[in-house]
Amino acid sequence: MNNTESPGLYIHVPFCGTKCPYCNFYSITSFSLVADWLDSLRKEAIIYKDRFAAFDSIYIGGGTPTLLAEHELAALIDTLFRYFTFSPDTEITIEANPDDITLEKPTLLRKIGVNRISLGVQSFNDKELQSLRRRHSAAQAERALERIRASGFTNIGVDLMYGLPGQTQAGWVQTMKRALDFKPEHLSCYQMTLENGTPFGKMSTDGRIKPLGEEEGRSFFLITSGFLEEQGYIHYEISNFAREQKYKSRHNSKYWQHVPYLGLGPAAHSFLEGVRWWNLDSVESYCRALDQGGVPVAGTETLSQEQHLLESLYLGFRTSHGIDLKLLNNRPRSDTILSELQESGLIQVHGGRAMPTRDGFLVADGLPLLFAG
């Protein structure tokens, strides 16, 4: 893993063309506030300008950042470079939707410094895309990938989802195969979650759509992991795969290792020196707070040692990097539990670390509590 201690910078772009029925990210579908938001973002950047060391990653996420006009994106990057310092090889990722990838867009993005694109494809099956009410088709997604590649991007990530209504396992493998045609450097394969507060979540409580059962979810997961590893990808986090070590998402890895990060924009989270804070999750109140000369923070917490440990454990068990066994020092019965987990084929222990196996990934959420308690 790109195990640097340099902090990462996240920008939340809270605008989308339409709202996808499964999505629980904060975004709005009106663009009237883009200018205010940009202006507020600048104010927020000023607040933190001297607080962080040089960043080596920027992640422009959302929302749908590629909906921003060229000058807006340029202004955004400008602001960041004006108030913060960055290491020369900074990874600059932008989340993109296929329908926004016009012929020129990739080149424009490269021009303003973006060197990694994470493309929200979700599926290469038109029926599935319709049921997800995405704004693009499979063909559009392929065209987008071609255009991005052609413009010279050497670090492309593709986001896919399984467990979609009506999706078969064969259909899912087909989707992965079509993504692999473009040799993406990175793949994120998420099991769809039916989140409370989303239209799909409601349909699920009403019984109109059914989440994957435990066995089906397991089998999709195993097929995904098996297939992609066969194709040479490294399964380095529950839902993330990299074609080579260097293509692991540098930015996201920071979240999993308690490396500091600064999140700008509504609903963004930040972490520095054991303190985590998160912003107001409404564009209006975010802007208002900054207008009035305040900070747009909605909440903050200081991690106790115990909380830090608990996070290290659960975050660690979600990655192939695993956990440092030193974390378990003085934990009652940790040896018994480790050997039980090894015998059950859920973890491997070497080099002073305990690392989840593929089967271990499947039950990663339950592992920390076996130790911390």
């Binding site: 996240y10 998420y190 099991q191 769809m192 979650t193 435990e214 066995e215 979810g217 397991r218 997961f221 529950i238 839902s239 996201n252 979240y255 999993w256 990060y261 999140g263 609903a267 963004a268 989270h269 930040s270 972490f271 985590r276 998160w278 917490e301 909380q307 608990l310 996070e311 659960y314 975050l315 979600r318 009652p332 019965r333 018994t336 539990i337 039980e340 987990l341 015998e343 059950s344 859920l346 990934f361 499947l362 039950v363 990663a364 959420d365 339950g366 592992l367 920390p368 509590l369 076996l370 911390a372 308690g373």
Partner: protein, 598 residues
């Protein structure tokens, strides 16, 4: 000075003691109509929820007799359930007489007899009261016959009464003052006061309930506990109305309370005698016989951090429930705890609930056990109530278990099913008795161990609530006993071991394995549960592993939320015990005891 009468109301369960007490209290004008509620002396939540009396309660009633004399009547309402008979026996030591209530439709029942005998042992005046005469099914003549034949009392002076309708209350009061002798005792002799109950008040310390036999005690006096010579300065004395009512003094023959800022819980012992430091009595009063526990169970704090607080809670609890016997105990699986003895299963259940509600203690209780005897090859005989100390099989020459005489009253139509149940529970020597038309009394000799678990519930279900059940210990009988061990992922969980009859071992093994399978949540790995006798596996069940339990996404915005979720689960885990790598919920230790139909 009003004259004093000290009496208890005793009876079989539900025969109407507390309701009669209500009428006497109302007659004395102690409550306004608005303050009144039925069974007003049943103040504990558990008493009201279950509709039974658990604790004896004292109340002092003013009464002006027909002949114009003034009295202070010290009434003690007692519980009828056999499991609380220790409350009755202690109450009787403060009295000169009793009202023996008999339900006019139920007639004389097991605790009528048992409580009468206790009153006789104390040489008390006995006033039979036939209650519930308002019921259509009341049969006064038959009850009088039973009083004569089964109790050996003269039925003629029996008072007919309906506590519910308020009929016969004045006759009861007159009988109390006319028949029960005034207590003797000299207020000028050295103080002797018998502690018959107590409870701990966080602000005022231990509040002692006592009967003064001789002497007088006043605020400012220095009192001394005769068993340990601890001394305290009296802050307040008084009598019980519906709440405590301070008085200037308590003198010979009164029943009341003493408060003297006693913060050392262990200084107060139920049965001890209080005297004055300046003018001590020559000898203490006889005190009480120890309670004889029938059922034993170990308790452990759910979280081992809470051990000290459990120790304190038990001390305080014991002040208010002196029938509880306990001593230190420890288990490999559950850590430090206590072995407790109870008078019966209801006592055990009430103990657990009071400890949780009143003292905030979350505890794990192990399966109740009776007390077994083992004759060893070397000629020694040992008594064991804790499966953990089951002797080496090879050393056992013969084993013995307690047998009871189980009496079951049922409508005749349930006889077949009840017989089946009793036989399945190793009942022998059935006898039948037809006290009234359509009802039958079935009597079996049965191992106590077979009824402490689930028997009463099953019987109630079978008889749709129409059955009643009582038992008396008769003797120890030889039986082929074995120890059933329970293993969780090959690790023996000592706290789950049971001593069982060989004939029933397989049933038990299967049941415990099945119950644990339901009670232990799935883990990340497979869990094997086995029942074993002397290393031989006789039953097993398997809890399959989680197949998938992981959320798809975890980025910056998810981390705090997810940790909070884990923290919540972790709190839940505090109520779990780790055995090896398996988390066993506290409930699992008790789940093995739940009956099939729950």
């Amino acid at each position: 000075m009003p004259q004093i009468r000290n009496f208890s109301i005793i009876a079989h369960i539900d025969h109407g003691k507390s309701t009669l007490a209500d009428r006497l209290i109302q007659h004395a004008g102690l409550v306004t109509e608005r303050q009144f509620r039925d069974q007003i002396l049943d103040t504990m939540d558990l008493e009201r929820e279950r509709g039974i009396t658990i604790k004896s309660q004292t109340v002092t009633l003013p009464y002006t007799g027909k002949k114009g004399k003034e009295y202070d009547l010290n009434l003690i309402d007692t519980p009828g359930h056999v499991d609380f008979s220790y409350e009755v026996s202690r109450a009787l030591a403060s009295c000169e007489g009793v009202l023996l209530i008999v339900d006019a439709s139920q007639g004389v029942q097991a605790q009528t007899v048992a409580n009468l005998y206790m009153a006789m042992e104390h040489d008390l005046t006995i006033i039979p009261v036939i209650n519930k005469i308002d019921l259509p099914s009341a049969d006064v003549d038959q009850v009088k016959e039973q009083i004569e034949n089964e109790l050996g009392l003269d039925p003629e002076p029996s008072i007919l009464c309906s506590a519910k309708e308020g009929i016969g209350i004045e006759n009861v009061l007159e009988a109390i003052v006319e028949q029960i002798p005034a207590p003797t005792g000299n207020p000028h002799d050295p103080l002797t006061a018998l502690i018959f109950d107590a409870n701990y008040d966080p602000f005022r310390g231990t509040i002692i309930s006592c009967r003064v036999f001789d002497g007088t005690v006043r605020p400012g006096d220095i009192i001394r506990f005769m068993s340990n010579n601890a001394t305290y300065k009296v802050e307040e004395v008084g009598v019980f109305r519906l709440s405590r009512e301070p008085r200037k003094e308590l003198s010979a023959a009164s029943v009341g309370y003493i408060i003297s800022g006693i913060k050392t819980v262990s200084d107060t012992r139920i049965g001890d005698t209080i005297t004055l430091n300046s003018n001590p009595a020559a000898a203490p009063l006889p005190g009480f016989k120890e309670a004889k526990p029938m059922v034993f169970s170990s308790i452990y704090p759910v979280s081992s951090d809470d051990y000290t607080s459990l120790v304190e809670a038990l001390e305080k609890y014991k002040l208010n429930d002196s029938a509880l016997i306990y001593q230190k105990d420890s288990s490999a699986a559950l850590g430090q705890g206590f072995r407790c003895g109870f008078l019966g299963l209801l006592h055990l259940e009430i103990f657990q609930q009071r400890l949780e509600r009143e003292y905030g203690q979350a505890i794990i209780m192990t399966a109740p056990s009776v007390r077994y005897q083992f004759r060893l090859q070397d000629g020694k005989t040992i008594t064991i109530d804790n499966p953990q100390y089951y002797p080496d099989d090879a050393g056992i020459e013969s084993s013995f278990e307690p047998f009871i005489k189980a009496s079951i009253f049922i409508p005749e139509r349930y006889m077949g099913e009840v017989m089946k149940l009793c036989i399945a529970r190793r009942g022998v020597n059935p006898r039948f008795n037809y006290p009234t038309q359509g009802r039958v009394e079935v009597t079996f000799d049965m191992p106590l161990a077979e009824v402490i678990f689930d028997f009463y519930d099953r019987m109630k279900t079978i008889t749709q609530g129409y059955g009643s059940f009582d038992y008396d210990l008769i003797e120890y009988r030889e039986g082929d006993l074995v120890k059933l061990d329970i293993l969780v992922n090959s690790e023996k969980v000592d706290a789950l071991s049971l001593i069982v009859h060989r004939d029933r071992a397989r049933d038990w093994g299967v049941r415990v394995c099945d119950r644990l399978k339901e009670a232990i949540p799935r883990h990340q790995f497979k869990i094997a549960i086995q029942g074993a006798i002397g290393g031989k596996i006789i039953s097993r069940s398997t809890i399959p592993a989680f197949r998938k339990d992981v959320t798809a996404k975890c980025y910056g915005g998810d981390i705090t939320r997810k940790r909070k979720l884990l923290e919540k689960q972790k709190k839940g885990k505090k109520r779990m015990k780790m055995v090896g790598s398996v988390m066993i919920p506290q409930g699992a230790f008790v789940a093995v005891l739940k009956s099939d139909n729950e």
